[in-house]
Amino acid sequence: MSERWRRYLRFWGPDVDGDIDDELSYHVERLTEFFVSRGLSPEDARQAAAKAFGDVKDVRTRLHAHDRRKLSRSRRQHMLQDLAQDLRYALRRLRAEPRFSAFVILVLALGIGANTAIFSAIDTAFLKPLPFASADRLVSIAGLELPLDLATRPKSFATMDDFTADSTVFAEVAAYASGGLNLTAGGAEPERVKIAYVTSRFFATLGKQAAVGRTPAPDEYAKGGPPTVVISHGVWQREFGGRNVVNRTLELNGKGYRIVGVMPADFGFPGRTEVWIPLALPFGLDIMSAFRNFVPSVFISRLAPAATVAQAAQHADVIRKRYRTIKPGDDPVSRLVRPLQATLVGDRQTSLIVLGASAALLLLIACANVMNLLLSRAAARRRELAIRVVLGATRLRITRQLVVESLLLAATGAAIAVVAARFAVRILSATLPPNLADVSPPGVDGRVLAFTMLVALATSLVFGVAPAFGASRTDLGEAMKSAGAGGGGTRRRAAGARGGGALVVAEVSLAVMLLVGAGLMLESLDALLRTDSGFRPERVVTGRLVFSETRYPNPAAKAVFFTRVLERLRATPGISSAAAVSALPMEGVGNIGLRVAPADAPEDTTRMGLGLYLMATPGYFATMGVPLRGQDLPALSDTAHRVAVINQSLAHALWPDREAVGRQLLLGEERRTVIGVVGDIRTRRLDETPDGQLYLPMSEQPQAYASIVAKGSGQPPAMLAALREAVHATDPMEPLYSMATMNDVIETTVAPRRTNTMLLALFGSLAVVLAAVGVFAVLSYGVEQRRREIGVRVALGAQRGDVSRLVVRQGVALAGVGALIGLIAAFVLSRFVTSMLYAVSPRDPLVFAGAAALLAVVALLATFGPAMRATGVDPLTTLREE
């Protein structure tokens, strides 16, 4: 290595290797000379020197390691010192302009906070694995059915055995069915708990162990095995105070179960299950008391290590085809096996993605806004930076300084955002499907924090680096010269205005996109709330109850109970009518369709209908405000007549052109007289069209499950109390649960959409405000830069109107171009939100026009300030400034 080359290297920092070589070789050479001077031959001297010095290579290695360590340590120290200095300086600068800083931080906190909050929901829904071991191997299987003990119908569904037969695809298969039972512990009043019947491999499939005791043993899943349960941590604490519960007895609907274990506190799958009961297969009808009408079984599986979801789906398809031929309406192969997480997320996927995209757009607008502000401030700072350059600051150093300032702004914004997001997440939980939110509740955890930090970093790079580079390229002479004259050179001014203008156009177009999205959602919500549910929910309260089969074994006993409760209710002041029904509208239950045919043409397939089968007492239609033509259902004591009340849809399907009242219909083999026709009710959700409905008298077969409805003139709390009192007075051991006003019941079905809509509306409003600020900032900056030009114009006779028109025209042009681009983009993108809309076209002209109009008004308002300032320009002062 030549000396010169080394010197070159040293220019870039200490040359560790060169220094060590220099030092050691100097020593060895001098030592050799020393021996030569003692009379040794050069060769001998070299050997002697080597011996006296010892292992050169070893010494060199040790020095090398030492020096390298030291060098990097000192570099780190220097960097930290510089950074600390930059930070101190940045802090000073931000404090020097508190209003500017506070505004920028607020804007960033809004943008970052929205993203943090939405990310926590998206993370839960799509990214974060479910809280189970190797959760990515867990899938759900469609098209399976649990075997029923007395099944006589043809077997057309595969069973779990078919899947476990080949363990190279499905390592474990299990099923569960969620329901509810009344829990009695130690003579207290019964309490409704969420239970799940689970099959033998359920806990193994999820890879979960009991925290205390054990999960059920194989023989406890066998037919006639000892009845056992596993309880949740919550039940353990609540009912048993956390004491030893293993082998104690738990009573569910009057039947005793031995507790064998307690699950960990974080486990409540499915949903928020509190008690897990082993299910023997094939199951008997005795488990039905936990469910309404049908067993809501879900099948899950842990895939074998090598199997993919697609392979599993193919395999499931093969199994399915063994049992029946596939018809067009059946599940496509791809839906047979799906990741469990995707199944739990269900149909909320689109809305979450749209929310995420909207939050990202909002952040972009915030970035553009901050960038705009920083750019306009960069002009004012040019002189300060020029002085620093003169004082010897390198371009790198100045760039770094500015980047540190941006980082500080973004970091402060992010810190506020995280605090705010902690609260926002609670609201956001409503956008998640409940069965997922329960399994893995969203929150501000390490992952979310990491995301926020990344976003803050990316944000500060986006809004900070461009101004930083621009500023660091400061032309000394020009900056110093023009600093006194209140602005940069003409060329730079033009470039700055163009940059600011482009940013405003971008902001406005993004804001219009968000506005259109929010507008479409608002229209949908409005349409939904205006949808006629078919009943009058006002002043109606409801509660649900479930009979324990042991205490109310026969229909007569239930009929007596209902009669007494309803009589008590009707006698209560403030309540005008009361009734019982097997399933309330909007509760998403009782969706069993029965095939109904007109008795006068039983073979006419065009006149067949599916009737949703419901049981009700007389007075139900009156209580719910459903119009009735003909007769009401017979009283509870009357069991003699085979009658039915049908809704308009079903009546129209059966007798398209004749009056249905008085005619007979066929329910399977059974002939029934239609005594009344009622209006259609939206049974599941407001945004689903009503199906055929078939009401049968409750007296025929009082259900184990029923809801009681009462209408009156009293206040809802008083009416609810009366409802509870009526049930309690009749039988204190029957708990009434899910008590609510009918309006609340409807609201529950609307809530996710409402939350979505409100969030989008919030984003849209923020976007508009930010865009307005952007317009304001750019115009103000423009006026400031053009003071001289305006001054000249005024001196040449321009009127105030001319001057303000100049400014307003510029603002309107920017907003107009932005709005146009935004409308076009929204037009292209709106089809992605189609599935989220209700009764609104994704290209609803009213929404598009409204968004553009709102923005135009706001942009116009934003031009007033700068326009006023422009008209205030005094030609004398400006010209003298030059």
Binding site: D22, E23, Y26, H27, L31, A52, G54
Partner: protein
């Protein structure tokens, strides 16, 4: 040449280097020569081991170093005693002499070997 009279104790080498630098700034080679001359070649050190020892002393702030040009125009690294180094030397030297005196007393005790 009496160059391999066994290992020097670690602390001893430190002491020797610090002593060598009292009143003069030296590069590694000169430190080795100084020690050899002063001890009349009675103590031999493996000269390469000077350098790691010097690095340790520098890390502890007992010596400082800088690059200068030698008489022959070579880049050489010259070591100097720092203020703390001087203090360290006097403490260490006192301790050493006390120990040495004590050991001498033991060895001179009757029956004396010396």
């Amino acid at each position: 040449m009496a160059r391999d009279k066994g290992d020097l104790l670690q602390g001893t080498l430190t002491l020797l280097i610090l002593k060598a630098l009292v009143g003069q700034d030296l590069h590694g080679y000169s430190i080795a020569r100084w020690i050899e001359d002063v001890t009349k070649q009675a103590l031999a050190i493996e000269e390469g081991s000077l350098y790691p020892a010097l690095r340790r002393l520098e890390d502890r702030g007992l010596v400082t170093s800088k690059w200068t040009l030698s008489d022959t125009g070579r880049r050489v690294r010259v070591y100097a005693l720092s203020r703390t180094g001087r203090a360290e030397l006097s403490t260490e030297a006192t301790a050493w002499m006390q120990l040495s005196r004590a050991v001498t007393l033991v060895l001179r005790a009757e029956p004396s070997l010396v």
